[in-house]
């Protein structure tokens, strides 16, 4: 066994020693806040008050029918016990009891079904509401939020935590009500019949409930721990498969198997812990239950013998115990579900309560439509929590029909600048104006209508090619889609596809090559009416010939737009009307291609390096060939 495996194995006994409060701490449940979270979870059922009441009413009827069973069974035992062989057999009263028994079970089943279905309806509706609210909020939350929180985490919250909240409302609440009814009404009936026996039964309930509740919390903890270990195991397997080539080249098989075994042993240790918690608790619960039954049996027998109760009453008490057994034991499930609902609820509410930091200011007006100029005025920008600015005093203007090139090494702040223009972040100082309006004073919707960005990381949706191109303008006519595709140099590729524009691109566009994906993203931006177009390293995966053709077509197509081309390749920006060289967040050089080459600074150096000549042996002729 490996080192990690031993560690897990030695801690196998740990949960038994873990106190409930320790378990709650590890689950991240703050007992001061938990009741409030739980109340809030329950309050989600508010809009479905009627259905909820209906479910609970059905639950009540089912519980009453269920409680009638011990009475009827006891009655029938009494009736039967008075039958003696040879007496005149009078089936009348017995038939009545039998009929009532059938009625009671049928009622119980029917109303349990109604209760279950109505509770599910409430739960599913709440699930849908939560899903929509969550989805809506995520769409509105600003970029910096999405930068901070990993998408996998958000997806987990939207799937599993949502189920956790829904599950508690659907199952937990119903079970609590059912248990309360059985104990309340049943206890009252039993107390009236025989105080001693009733107290014996009711006395065992808190003990079993305590054991079961503790088990529920511990199971939740064991499950959470197991999931953490399984996540490690999953990661080991996933990385191994993704890095299959490396693992084979290096012969890292032994090392990988060892990693796998360590992760698997650790997971197995926790899986076994979970089993142990469950087995031990269940054995205890069963033990207490049957011990209580033994007491009822002993005390009941003496009371029957002394004539205080009948055999039928005796059977009645035993039947009542049987009915109680499962609901009391389900306290474990209720606690488990409640613990889950508290931690899941907290995670969900954290997102739902967040307000987007970028939103329309009161009185914001839409930007003017049509061709407008973009002015970036002395803009500086620092990411939230960062201690240095990524952009410093950036200042430029692009008028419709002009192309601005921005070049610089990775990390110079190029993409941040693009994001500021679409107001994905707010500038720290300075201002960005579109058509002379500060974008912070305009409606967010109109800013994004006027600015189209082709992002560096292309994201396509699992839909048809046409739907992806028309993503920003879903009502675009087919002609518009084709035109945009033609400019983006997609036409020849589309023509080769069997379903043409109706071809699905696959998850994240996995059916396309990197270059094709980039071109779809370019076409997508072109299909909008935006008057500011930003291409953020949008052609890096294209070969030089296609890149040239695209730039030519773009120039004709975007005559009325202000265009910004961002790249780390000199060749991609050489045609621009003005080029900014960005380094460490500041403009270090600006001018046309020829001016910058003549300057012999950063730009010229970059150019030399990228065209693979030493600076001194660079000739203007070669660059002419590259950039027609």
């Amino acid at each position: 066994m490996t080192a990690a495996g031993t560690g897990a194995a030695t801690s196998t006994g740990a949960p038994a020693a873990t106190s409930v409060s320790g378990a709650l701490d590890e689950l991240g449940i703050d007992r001061a806040i938990a009741p409030r979270t739980l109340r809030r979870v329950v309050s989600l059922a508010g809009p479905y008050r009627l259905r909820f009441t209906l479910a609970m009413a059905a639950c009540l009827v089912a519980a009453l029918a269920n409680l009638a069973l011990p009475l009827l069974l006891g009655h029938s035992v009494d009736q039967v016990s008075h039958i003696h062989p040879g007496d005149a057999f009078e089936p009348g009263p017995l038939l009545w009891t039998a009929g009532l028994l059938l009625l009671a079970t049928a009622t119980r089943g029917l109303f349990q079904m109604i209760a279950g279905y109505q509770a599910e309806t409430v739960g599913q509706n709440i699930g849908r509401d939560l899903r929509l609210a969550y989805f809506e909020k995520l769409q509105r939350l600003e970029y910096s939020f999405h930068d901070r929180i990993h998408s996998g985490d958000l997806i987990t919250r939207g799937m599993l935590d949502l189920e956790g909240v829904r599950g508690f409302l659907e199952v937990g609440v119903q079970r609590i009500v059912q248990l309360a009814l059985l104990l309340g009404v049943g206890g009252w009936l039993m107390l009236r019949r025989d105080t001693v026996l009733a107290l014996l039964i009711l006395g065992s309930v808190p003990l079993i409930g305590l054991l079961a509740g503790r088990m529920g919390i511990r199971l939740r903890l064991a499950w959470t721990r197991l999931q953490q270990r399984m996540a490690v195991l999953t990661r080991v397997m996933e990385e191994n498969l993704q890095g299959a080539r490396l693992v084979r080249v290096f012969p890292a098989r032994d090392q990988q198997m060892q990693l796998f075994d360590e992760a698997a042993e650790a997971a197995m240790g926790y899986a076994n812990q979970r089993i142990e918690v469950r087995s031990l608790s269940m054995a205890q619960i069963n033990g207490v239950y049957y011990a209580a039954m033994l007491l009822v049996l002993a005390v009941g027998a003496s009371r029957v013998q002394s004539g205080q109760i009948s055999v039928g009453n005796f059977a009645e008490f035993l039947a009542y115990m049987t009915i109680l057994q499962v609901p009391v034991r389900q306290i474990s499930m209720i606690m488990n579900a409640a613990a889950r609902a508290v931690s899941s609820g907290a995670r969900l509410f954290e997102i739902l309560d967040r307000e987007p930091s970028i939103h329309d200011t009161p009185g914001a007006l839409p930007l003017p439509v049509g061709p407008v100029a973009l002015q970036v005025e002395h803009v500086s920008f620092r990411y939230q929590g960062a201690n240095y600015p990524v952009l410093r005093d950036i200042d430029f203007t692009v008028v419709p029909g002009r192309v601005l090139g921005i070049v610089g090494p990775a990390g110079a702040g190029k993409s941040s600048l693009a994001h500021l223009i679409a107001r994905f972040y707010d500038v720290t100082s300075g201002a960005i104006r579109i058509g002379d309006v500060d974008i912070r004073d305009a409606t967010l919707d109109s800013v994004r209508r006027q600015v189209a960005i082709v992002q560096q990381d292309v994201f396509l949706f699992d839909d048809s090619l046409a739907a992806n191109i028309a993503y920003g303008e879903p009502l675009s006519p087919g002609e518009r889609v084709r035109q945009s595709a033609a400019v983006a140099q997609l036409e020849p590729h589309v023509a080769a596809l069997p379903l043409r524009y109706r071809t699905r691109v696959g998850e994240r566009g996995s059916g396309l090559s990197g270059g094709q994906r980039q071109r779809v993203a370019v076409a997508r931006a072109l299909a909008t009416d935006a008057s500011v177009l930003i291409l953020d390293d949008a052609t890096s995966a294209l070969d030089a010939a296609t890149d040239h053709a695209l730039r030519d077509a773009l120039r004709r197509f975007t005559a009325a737009r202000a265009t910004i081309v961002i790249s780390h390749r000199v060749a991609s920006v050489a045609h621009a009307d003005e080029i900014l060289v960005l380094e460490q967040g500041a403009i270090v050089e600006r001018g046309t291609h020829d001016e910058l080459l003549a300057l012999g600074g950063h730009y010229a150096g970059l150019h030399a390096m990228q065209t693979r000549r030493e600076p001194d042996d660079s000739t203007p002729a070669t660059s002419q060939e590259l950039v027609p």
């Binding site: 069974l73 035992v77 009736q79 039958i83 040879g86 057999f89 089936p91 038939l95 059938l102 079970t105 049928a106 089943g109 029917l110 079904m113 279905y117 599913q124 849908r128 899903r131 929509l132 809506e136 769409q139 509105r140 939207g158 799937m159 599993l160 189920e163 397997m237 191994n240 498969l241 299959a244 080249v249 012969p251 890292a252 197995m268 089993i275 469950r278 087995s279 269940m282 054995a283 205890q284 069963n286 033990g287 049957y290 033994l294 049996l297 027998a301 055999v311 005796f314 039947a319 049987t322 034991r329 389900q330 499930m333 994905f424 189209a452 699992d462 993503y471 780390h568 990228q610 065209t611």
Partner: protein, 612 residues
């Protein structure tokens, strides 16, 4: 009467989690496949090592069931005794027996769950390990053709489905034995009454037969709609930047609303299907009680039984029909598990194309030469990429292979590492045929640095050490040699900086430098670089080029590149086109010859692909 059922109430909760996870992972497909008994045969080797545990589990389950069955009998004995029936046992004896039974019941409960669930757990982990271990041996060719997500869905989703089945099987077997036990007990108590009561079973089975096909459709629909709605959520989260940039919020919300509503409705249909069985089972239970009451009364009147039997019967039938319900669930689960098991064995059955000869010696790699002798190779049958390919790389030589995409240069690199086997001919390293040496020994002498630097979760030091036993000093020395030390020590935790998500917190250039250090630590005699500088921007590349020089010193090297700049330092360049050597010679010779290389170089193209 109690059954083993309810202990799984908590598991139900967790199964929902599991189902949600699985839904995300597994491709949608026909879940209710046909049940194959042959699969159980395949599982045998996994169960066999744990025979003792299995036996213990069976014994424990039998004890538990016996204890459960005995309880109503003791209640009968109590009733018999207090009603003063002739021949009844003294009450004290009955209670003593009951006390013993309570103890046995608890112990058996504990042991059956511990042994059976652990057994299931062990088998599942073994199954997963077998699949993972097999995947390590499968050739790169087989890996190329399969999507990582798909394999992962087998390693996780399918393994989980089988686990779910196993875990519930434990309960189901208990239920089944209990059911059988109840039937036997009923017949022993009073066969006429038992017969009457059991007449209800076929009725319930008929209801179930009617119910199953419709429920199946509803359950499949619910699973599908749930994966659709979760898929839409995931896609929107991942693409949120585009969504906002393209102002699609409103439209996407409407679309999501439709999907979430459809999901709600599908879930409710499934819930309905599950709920209709509740009254069916309850009515059957009610009818059974009617039979016991009336039949019992009649038999009592006839003097054939006494009151104790009636009470025992009542306790038996109260929960008799519940197992019928859970066994139906078990059936659908079994079918899902069968499909999953088949998919698991599909992975285990992937043939190993690259086999190691028994007792194959280690690769000596001395002298460090690589020779391709009449090699024929391709990825698709009948379409060779290399055909009659001959090439010798001499000891200490740096050979560059350039050529456009698809020319076969990456295949040359892959064959030298025996990621694939040649169709014909041979690849020899230091005179040894790669097929005659042990696979594990190849990487110690001959190493390839890949185009995409792949880093694992762990610290930087872990990644440089990787499969070697390098000391900290060796790791630092390697990092210094490739000029990675400066940026590593600038990180807050230096060499112990954990890498997030496979090193996404580093730039591509930095990742590649780490992968160079990793290769340097492994210290192979022969090094192959497969486009190792292709995805790095030109600023970072200058540094990489320097690192490269350190890396190649004193080794035999093959550089695969499509960028011309990368290969200027090579001793010899080979220009490959369509699997054939078009021209070769030193960089100066090639420039002088005026061939393809010279032409591209003169026209200042960065790479071969631009020429196309």
């Amino acid at each position: 009467m109690t059954t083993l059922l309810s202990r799984d109430a908590d598991a139900e909760l967790e199964r929902e989690d599991e189902a949600a996870r699985t839904a995300l992972l597994s491709e949608r497909e026909q879940i209710f496949g046909r049940f194959e008994s042959g699969l159980f045969g395949r599982l045998k080797p996994f169960v066999r090592p744990h025979r003792t545990l299995l036996l213990a589990a069976i014994v424990a389950i039998l004890c538990f069931v016996a204890a459960q069955l005995a309880i109503p009998l003791l209640i009968r004995a109590t009733v018999d005794s207090i009603t003063g029936k002739a021949g009844s046992y003294p009450l004290a004896w009955v209670f003593a027996a009951f006390a013993l039974l309570v103890l046995l019941n608890s112990l058996a409960n504990y042991w059956s769950d511990m042994t059976a669930s652990r057994l299931a757990q062990r088998i599942i982990f073994d199954l997963r390990r077998a699949m993972f271990a097999h995947l390590q041996l499968v050739s790169q060719g087989a890996m190329d053709g399969s999507h990582v997500g798909r394999i992962m869905s087998r390693l996780q989703g399918d393994v989980n489905a089988v686990q779910e089945f196993f875990e519930t099987s434990v309960t189901a077997v208990g239920d089944f034995v209990l059911l059988l036990g109840i039937v036997i007990a009923l017949f022993l108590l009073e066969w006429r009454l038992a017969l009457l009561t059991l007449l209800l079973a076929p009725m319930l089975l008929a209801v179930r037969a009617l119910w199953l096909p419709r429920a199946r459709a509803a359950f499949t629909g619910a699973r599908d709609s749930s994966s659709i709605v979760n898929g839409a959520l995931a896609e929107n989260i991942n693409g949120v930047r585009v969504v906002q940039g393209m102002r699609r919020e409103k439209l996407n919300l409407e679309d999501f609303d439709r999907k979430a509503t459809a999901n709600r409705d599908a879930q409710l249909r499934a819930a309905w299907s599950a709920q209709v069985l509740v009254p069916a089972v309850d009515i059957a239970t009610g009818l059974a009680m009617v039979i016991v009451t009336l039949g019992g009364g009649w038999l009592l009147w006839q003097g054939r039984i006494d009151i104790g039997v009636v009470v025992a019967f009542i306790f038996y039938v109260q929960r008799f029909f519940d197992p019928v319900r859970t066994l139906s669930q078990q059936y659908t689960m079994a079918q899902r598990a069968a499909t999953s098991a088949r998919r698991i064995f599909e992975v285990i059955d992937v043939p190993l194309e690259i086999m190691e000869k028994p007792g194959a010696p280690a690769l000596r790699g001395d002298p460090p030469t690589v020779e391709f002798r009449d090699v024929r190779f391709g990825y698709q049958r009948g379409r060779p990429i290399l055909d009659g390919f001959n090439l010798t790389v001499h000891a200490g030589e740096t050979l560059a292979i350039v050529g456009p995409t698809g020319s076969g240069k990456s295949s040359v690199a892959a064959l030298a590492c025996r990621l694939y086997d040649v169709w014909d001919g041979a690849v020899l390293v230091g005179g040894q045929d790669l097929r005659d040496v042990s696979r594990q020994s190849i990487g110690r002498k001959l190493l390839m640095v890949l185009q995409e630097p792949f880093l694992f979760t762990g610290t930087i030091a872990d990644n440089i050490r990787f499969a070697s036993n390098a000391t900290r000093a060796q790791i630092v020395a390697a990092a210094k040699a490739v000029q990675a030390d400066a940026f590593i020590t600038a990180l807050p935790q230096g060499y112990d900086t954990p890498l997030d998500q496979r090193g996404q917190n580093l730039s591509v250039g930095q990742r590649q430098l780490i992968s160079f250090a990793r290769a340097l630590v492994a210290d192979p005699a022969i090094l192959i670089l497969d486009e190792a500088t292709a995805s790095i921007d030109s600023v970072a590349e200058a540094r990489i080029q320097q690192a490269l020089r350190v890396l190649l010193k004193g080794r035999t090297a093959i550089l695969i590149a499509h960028r011309l700049a990368t290969v200027r330092d090579a001793d010899r360049i080979i220009v490959l086109q369509d699997g054939a050597i078009l021209e070769q010679g030193s960089p100066i010779e090639l420039l002088a010859s005026g061939g393809l290389y010279a032409g591209l170089y003169r026209h200042n193209f960065e790479s071969f692909d631009e020429a196309g």
